[in-house]
Symmetry: C2
Subunit: 366 residues, 2 copies
């Protein structure tokens, strides 16, 4: 089974490679460093679908003129605790951290800060942006709308993205709690994995083009759609639809971005519809200062006790403890920092095609 052996690349090598690609797109040194940091964080945390696997996708959007590598990001509206940012069609990987910094400044000044973003692009993992809060003893929040792939309850039409929500909570002796989740039953990346391995998927993940439940991981290519968290009405899919709607409204209706089925697709071969109701993709980011509510030490004593208690929850199966949100990603990050970041062959091929095009050194595993 040697063909399935995972090849790992040293973090610094992959980081340098990724920066070089963004520099080749015309990004500033600072933006290329930041954008690479966001993608690498996904790979380090084991969220492969949102890391360098998407690098070629960003390049293709830039080729199409849909990503501006030299954006003038600016505040278009604000109050002491809120603001709206125009991302100037920049990389979401750069626009979202810019917005989050403003949210953190506002939180520093008045206790909480909220920034809605329009005219942006795919921002990588929500966790990167929300985690910017925790080192300042703040709670972070990040959400974004995304390419329409998910059908509302009772519909067979792709109207919403996998629209993630992320909350990050600083802790005391423990790593932060990170709730970072697509509001669909399964993220698209999980379908891709099942397709590669030729496995059928659980019911409740996708439906076919007529709205019938399907176990076929390739259903999206046949006009099918992802299902909201819950899967069907009996299992609460109206809740997944409700959450996804909230993400879409906060990210796009509140900012002036494009919403619902108009959200610009990430894949470059699909053009955005002509009748766009807003500008680009939207995000919504925020932070609360813990000491806006109570002394940080009191909070940390309690959050550590919360974690301790949930780790000790009675197990259904003795060998499987309860997982604190964010634990698996924290563990992956520790391993991948030391042992290198695993890359599958298909991604290596994509990266090497970029290396050739931009005259960068190809991926080196040794």
């Amino acid at each position: 089974m040697s063909e399935n052996k995972i090849k790992r690349i040293e973090e610094q090598k992959l980081r340098k490679f990724t920066q070089d690609v963004f520099l080749s797109m015309g990004c500033s040194e600072e933006d290329a460093t930041l954008a690479a940091d966001v993608l690498l964080k996904a790979d380090l945390r084991g969220i492969d679908s949102h890391g360098v696997a998407r690098l070629i996708g960003y390049v293709r959007l830039w080729d199409k003129g849909r990503i501006n590598s030299r954006p003038t990001i600016r505040i278009v509206h604000e109050t002491p605790s809120t603001a709206t940012i125009d991302g100037d069609a920049g990389l979401g990987l750069v626009v979202a951290p810019f917005a989050m910094k403003i949210a953190l400044e506002k939180a520093e000044n008045v206790g909480s800060g909220w920034v809605s973003v329009k005219n942006s692009n795919h921002f990588g993992i929500a966790g990167y942006h929300a985690l910017m809060a925790v080192n300042n003893d703040m709670i972070g929040m990040a959400m974004t709308n995304a390419s329409p792939l998910v059908a509302p309850t009772f519909s067979k039409e792709r109207m919403l993205g996998t629209n993630p929500i992320c909350y990050t909570f600083p802790a005391g002796k423990y790593p932060p709690i990170v709730v970072d989740m697509a509001t669909s039953t399964a993220a698209n990346g999980k379908l891709e994995v099942a397709q590669r391995k030729n496995l059928s998927i659980p019911s409740g993940w996708v439906q076919d083009k007529n709205g019938a439940d399907s176990r076929d991981a390739g259903e999206l290519k046949e006009g099918g759609s992802l299902l909201p968290l819950g899967g069907d009405r009996d299992h609460g899919s109206h809740k997944g639809f409700g959450l996804s709607s909230a993400v879409d409204i906060f990210s796009a209706v509140l900012s002036g971005a494009s919403y619902g089925p108009w959200a610009p697709p990430f894949v470059s071969f699909l053009d955005p519809a002509d009748d766009q109701p807003g500008e680009g993709l939207g995000h919504f980011l925020g932070a609360w200062r813990v000491d806006g509510f109570r002394p940080v030490d009191d909070y940390k004593r309690n959050i550590d006790q919360w974690i301790d208690r949930f780790k000790k929850a009675e197990r259904t199966n003795e060998s499987q403890p309860v997982i604190i949100p964010g634990e698996p990603e924290e563990l992956a990050e520790r391993i991948n920092r030391t042992e290198g970041i695993p890359l599958v062959d298909a991604v290596v091929e994509d990266l090497n095609s970029l290396a050739e095009r931009f005259n960068i050194q190809a991926i080196q595993f040794s």
Copy 2:
């Protein structure tokens, strides 16, 4: 089938009755009026489980000395956009609107406002509090922790409440969008309905005391637990668990209330554990001014278009349109205001026992 005929009572009669019960508990005129308004709103909106059906539960907690009918609610910590409230063991029905008013004032002043609440009790429907925002052209948010009934993914222990999240979005020509959802697959009220009708429930709602999936609506009485939204790991129950955890942390760890399995139970025959880590139940409430982000008219034009487009989403079944979050409750409210509020016999019996005890006129349907 005349025994199943729904009996309806005029809103004003039920409101007066409910106020009289709260007055008999020693509430002030103002608090009794407000608490009755919160319960009636649930009944009007068709959320029967959270309306006057719970009135006897509040009385029983007061009997036990766990509800203070004359609380001194006060701010214990604040910044320009945040505050923490001590509810002084008052009715959540009174404490939560008090907190939300402070959130609205802060939003008025600095764009957004956030209030965490400790030392409170069950606050009724989250929607009541979050809806206080929309008439001021604000977006509202409300969440609360609750009696532990839900097991984390991989656990068979009741560690969390059904911990609801509510977002309310003002619209232009349409009623507000209201996303108001328990973070468990099914709310406890749905189990009660299935039990009354002697129906089996879908898989993914509850598990038995050993952690095996069960179709028995009575499983909770046998040591079983509710499952987080998603049902099992394959269907995303770690997401429901993550959301529920976030609600618990915002509501109780951030405020200094009791969290996780320590959350004080609503039923009076279960005493809170002796080793309480905080004070009472916790809530978290907030509001954002729409014009903290963009002009209200622009937002309203877009949110109305959002609603129009989602109403037109292609249907799986021609007879069932997509439901905009909050539509069914809006419809119920219009019907129940005109035709009266439906009450089941068991609730009427409970109410009449209160009438007898407090020397109030019994429920009158005609």
